[in-house]
C-alpha cells in the first residue's frame, strides 16, 4: 500500500474521530461544569445523557410519520431532551447531593454511582414495559445522505472532499454544527453574562459568594440544569450518529467523556472540548493501528486492533497526569492552600 491510498485513509480516520470527539466534548462539558462549581464528579451524568438519548428516540418515534420538516423534528428532539435531562439533573442534585454537601468527599461520589445505577434500571424498566430494549432512532429521510466521494452524482466539492478522504453524512455535519452552537452559547453564558459571573463566583468560594448576595443554592441548581441540558443534547447527538441506544449505553461514552474532562483539565470548559476531540481522534487512530502496522511492516502492531480503543484513551490520560497533573488546559488551584 502506498502513500496515495494511505493519506486519504488517515484523513478519514481523523475526521471521523473529530466527529466522535464532539459528542465526547459535549458530554465532558456536563462533568466539568458540575465539577467546576461543586468539586463533585457527577457519575450519574452518563445516565442523564442516556435519558436525553431516550427522549430524543421517543420524539423521533412519535413524530416519525408526520410530514414535518426533518430539521424541525431534530430541534424538538433537542429541546425536549434538554428540558427533561436538565430537570432530571436538578432533581438529582436536590435529592442526592445537596443533603450530603458537607459530608466527606467520598460520600457524594458513592451516591453518584448509586444514582447512576438506579437511573439505568429505571430507563430499562420504562422502555421494557413497552417491549423495547435497543432503541433504534427513526431519523428523517435524507439525514444519512453522505457528501459523497467517488459517485458521479456528487457535487464537485463533495468529490474533492472524497478524494482527500473526507466523507461526511448530513447528520454528522448537523452534529458538529449543534455542538459548536452549544459550545459558543455556553462560553458566552459563563464568561460574558451576569449569571456567568455568579456561577464563577460560587465556583471560587461558595460562602463568600453567598455573603455578597448570591443565592448559592440557586446557582448550583442552575449549573446542574445547564449541565443536564448539555447531557440531553449530547444524548440526542449520540443517537443521531450511532442510531441505536439502550439503557446501558451511557457507561462507555460517559467514562471516556469523564476522561476527556480530566485530560483537558477538569473544571475548564475549553479543556473539556479539547480533551473530547483529542480522545475521539486517538481512539480512532488506535482502532486502525493494526492496518498501519501492516502497511509500515511493523508486524507487532498487528495485534493492536479496535478492541484496544478505550485502553488507548486511558493510557493518554495516565501519561498526561504524570507529566502535567492539571490536565492540558487546567490551572493549578493555589488559592485553596
Amino acid at each position: 500500500m502506498d502513500f496515495a491510498t494511505l493519506a486519504p485513509f488517515l484523513v478519514g480516520v481523523i475526521v471521523s474521530g473529530l466527529v466522535l470527539g464532539f459528542v465526547y466534548a459535549i458530554i465532558a462539558l456536563g462533568y466539568t461544569m458540575v465539577y467546576g462549581v461543586l468539586q463533585l464528579i457527577n457519575f450519574a451524568h452518563s445516565e442523564v445523557f442516556v435519558t436525553g438519548a431516550v427522549v430524543g428516540f421517543e420524539v423521533f418515534r412519535v413524530l416519525g410519520d408526520s410530514p414535518m420538516n426533518g430539521y424541525l423534528k431534530l430541534l424538538i428532539a433537542l429541546l425536549a431532551a434538554m428540558l427533561v435531562s436538565g430537570l432530571l439533573n436538578v432533581l438529582i442534585e436536590r435529592l442526592a447531593y445537596r443533603p450530603l454537601r458537607n459530608a466527606p468527599r467520598l460520600v457524594p461520589l458513592i451516591t453518584a454511582i448509586g444514582v447512576s445505577l438506579i437511573l439505568q434500571d429505571l430507563i430499562r424498566i420504562i422502555e421494557g414495559f413497552q417491549g423495547r430494549f435497543d432503541l433504534t432512532y427513526r431519523l428523517p429521510e435524507g439525514f444519512s445522505t453522505s457528501f459523497c466521494g467517488a459517485e458521479s452524482s456528487c457535487a464537485p466539492i463533495g468529490k474533492f472532499l472524497g478524494t482527500v478522504g473526507i466523507q461526511l453524512q448530513l447528520k454528522e455535519v448537523m452534529l458538529v454544527v449543534v455542538s459548536l452552537i452549544m459550545l459558543g452559547g455556553l462560553n458566552y453564558l459563563v464568561n460574558y453574562t451576569k449569571l456567568g459571573r455568579a456561577i464563577r463566583a460560587v465556583a471560587q468560594d461558595r460562602v463568600t459568594a453567598g455573603l455578597m448576595g448570591i443565592d448559592a443554592n440557586g446557582i448550583i441548581s442552575l449549573t446542574f440544569l445547564i449541565g443536564g441540558a448539555l447531557g440531553g443534547v449530547s444524548g440526542v447527538l449520540f443517537g443521531l450518529k450511532f442510531g441505536t441506544v439502550n439503557a446501558y449505553s451511557g457507561f462507555d461514552p460517559g467514562i471516556v467523556a469523564f476522561t476527556a474532562a480530566v485530560l483537558g483539565g477538569i473544571g475548564s470548559i475549553p479543556g473539556a472540548v479539547l480533551g473530547g476531540l483529542v480522545l475521539g481522534v486517538i481512539q480512532n487512530l488506535i482502532g486502525v493501528t493494526n492496518i498501519l502496522g501492516n502497511v509500515l511492516g511493523l508486524a507487532n502492531l498487528g495485534v493492536i486492533d479496535s478492541s484496544y480503543q478505550r485502553i488507548g484513551a486511558f493510557l493518554v490520560l495516565v501519561l498526561i497526569l504524570i507529566f502535567k497533573p492539571t490536565g492540558l488546559l487546567g490551572r493549578s488551584n493555589t488559592e485553596k492552600v
Binding site: M1, F9, S146, I286, G287
Partner: protein, 385 residues
C-alpha cells in the same frame, strides 16, 4: 428429642402435601434471556417450549403427574445464567432444562447443573466446547460451530465467489469460536483474510469501517448477535459499503431489520434453527404459536419447541423405566441421552455419546428488503467421537 420432632414435622408435612394434591408435580425449566438486548430470541425459546409442555400435559396427567414449565432469565450473561442454574438445581421438582441461547451461558450453567444431574437440552448452542467437555447432562439438537463455520465459508466461496473476506467477532465464546472456524475453512480454500478482529463495541464502528473500506474485501463475516451486528450494518451501509455480510445463527431475528434498517440488505446467515418454511410440519405449531402469544414464530421458537419435546420424551422414557413412578434426576439424565425422539419439526433426534445430535441440518438464509428467505439447506453429521 429434637430429632423426633423434626421427624414428626416431616411426616406431617409430607402427609398434608400428599393430601393436598394426589398428583406429583414435574417441572421443566427453560433458561434463556427473557430481558435485555437478546430477549427477542430468548422469549422465542421459552414460548416454543411452553407449546410442547401444553401438548404433553395430558399425557403426563394420565400417568399421575402435573406437568408445568418455569422460565428462568439468564439475561444472556454467564454469571446470571449460572446463578439461575443453581436455583434450578435447588428446586427438586425440576427434572430437566431446555436452554440456553448463548454458548457462553450454556458452558458454565450446564457445569453448575451437572453435580445434581439435571439434564439440559439446548435448542441453540453451537460452540464446540458445549459438548466437547463430555458432560453427562448436556445435549443439543443443533449443529456445532465446526459445522456452522465451514457451512458459512463454503457458501461464501461457492455462491458469493469471494477472494478476500474481513472477519469480525463479538469476543464471546460463540462469536469468537464461530469466526475461528470460518477462518480455518476459508484459509483451507486459499481465500485471503483481509482483516480479523474482535470487538465488544456496541455503538461506534467507524474505525473498523474505515479499515474495511481500505482493505476492500469481497465480503464480511461477523460472528456475533443481531443487536450488535445490526448497528454495525447500519453504519457500514451509511458509509457506502454494499458488499455482502455473512454471519451465523446469532442474526436469526426479525430485530435485525428493525435495528439495521436498510443496512440489513444483502445479508446472509447460516442458522441451525430452521425457518418455518423449511419445516413441513411446522405450520400447525406456527399457527398455534401466533394464536397463543400474539407473535410470529421464528427459528428459535421452533427449536425451543423441539428441544422441549426431546426433553419430555426423555422424561416419559425415564418414568416408564421406573415402573410409572417419579424418576430421579439421574434416571432422566440417562434417558434423555438415550432417547430417540420422534414427531419433531426438525426430524428424529438421537444423541451421540457426548450429546451432539447425530444428524443435524444447517440452513442458509438471506435478508433483503426486510424479508427473510431460505437460500439453501445442508446436512451435517456430528463429528465421530
Amino acid at each position: 428429642m429434637k430429632k423426633t420432632s423434626i421427624l414428626a414435622l416431616t411426616l406431617l408435612g409430607s402427609l398434608t402435601l400428599g393430601a393436598a394434591s394426589a398428583q406429583t408435580t414435574i417441572k421443566i425449566a427453560t433458561l434463556s434471556p427473557l430481558s435485555g438486548g437478546q430477549s427477542d430470541l430468548g422469549t422465542q425459546i421459552k414460548n416454543g417450549a411452553q407449546l410442547a409442555v401444553n401438548e404433553y400435559a395430558s399425557q403426563f396427567k394420565r400417568l399421575g403427574f402435573d406437568l408445568s414449565l418455569v422460565g428462568y432469565d439468564d439475561q444472556a450473561d454467564p454469571a446470571t445464567g449460572t446463578a439461575a442454574a443453581r436455583k434450578i438445581a435447588a428446586d427438586n421438582s425440576i427434572l430437566a432444562v431446555v436452554g440456553t441461547l448463548n454458548s457462553g451461558v450454556a458452558i458454565p450453567s450446564s457445569a453448575a447443573l451437572a453435580p445434581s444431574h439435571v439434564a439440559m437440552v439446548s435448542p441453540a448452542n453451537t460452540a464446540n466446547q458445549v459438548t466437547d467437555r463430555g458432560l453427562k447432562n448436556m445435549n443439543r439438537i443443533v449443529a456445532r460451530d465446526d459445522a456452522q463455520g465451514p457451512a458459512g465459508a463454503n457458501f461464501m466461496v461457492s455462491k458469493l465467489k469471494v477472494k478476500s473476506v474481513y472477519l469480525l467477532n463479538d469476543k464471546t465464546a460463540y462469536g469468537e469460536g464461530l469466526a475461528a472456524e470460518v477462518k480455518k475453512a476459508l484459509q483451507a480454500k486459499n481465500v485471503k483474510i483481509s482483516g480479523d478482529e474482535g470487538t465488544e463495541e456496541k455503538s461506534d464502528f467507524s474505525a473498523i469501517i474505515q479499515k474495511i473500506k481500505l482493505t476492500k474485501p469481497d465480503a464480511i463475516y461477523f460472528g456475533g448477535i443481531y443487536n450488535q451486528v445490526g448497528v454495525f450494518l447500519k453504519q457500514l451501509r451509511e458509509q457506502g459499503v454494499t458488499i455482502p455480510v455473512v454471519g451465523g445463527d446469532g442474526l436469526d431475528s426479525e430485530q435485525m431489520v428493525t435495528i439495521g434498517g436498510k443496512g440489513s440488505d444483502n445479508v446472509f446467515y447460516t442458522t441451525v434453527a430452521a425457518p418455518a418454511e423449511a419445516l413441513p410440519a411446522a405450520k400447525t405449531v406456527a399457527n398455534n404459536y401466533s394464536k397463543t402469544f400474539g407473535k410470529d414464530i421464528q427459528g428459535f421458537g421452533l427449536f425451543g419447541y423441539d428441544a422441549a419435546k426431546v426433553t419430555l420424551q426423555g422424561v416419559l422414557a425415564a418414568i416408564k423405566a421406573n415402573g410409572n413412578k417419579l424418576p430421579s434426576r439421574e434416571q432422566v439424565e440417562t434417558a434423555v441421552r438415550k432417547v430417540r425422539a420422534t414427531g419433531l419439526l426438525s426430524g428424529t433426534v438421537q444423541f451421540n455419546s457426548v450429546g451432539d445430535r447425530q444428524s443435524a441440518k444447517m440452513y442458509i438464509m438471506n435478508i433483503n428488503n426486510g424479508k427473510f428467505t431460505l437460500d439453501s439447506t445442508i446436512s451435517v453429521k456430528a463429528p465421530t467421537q
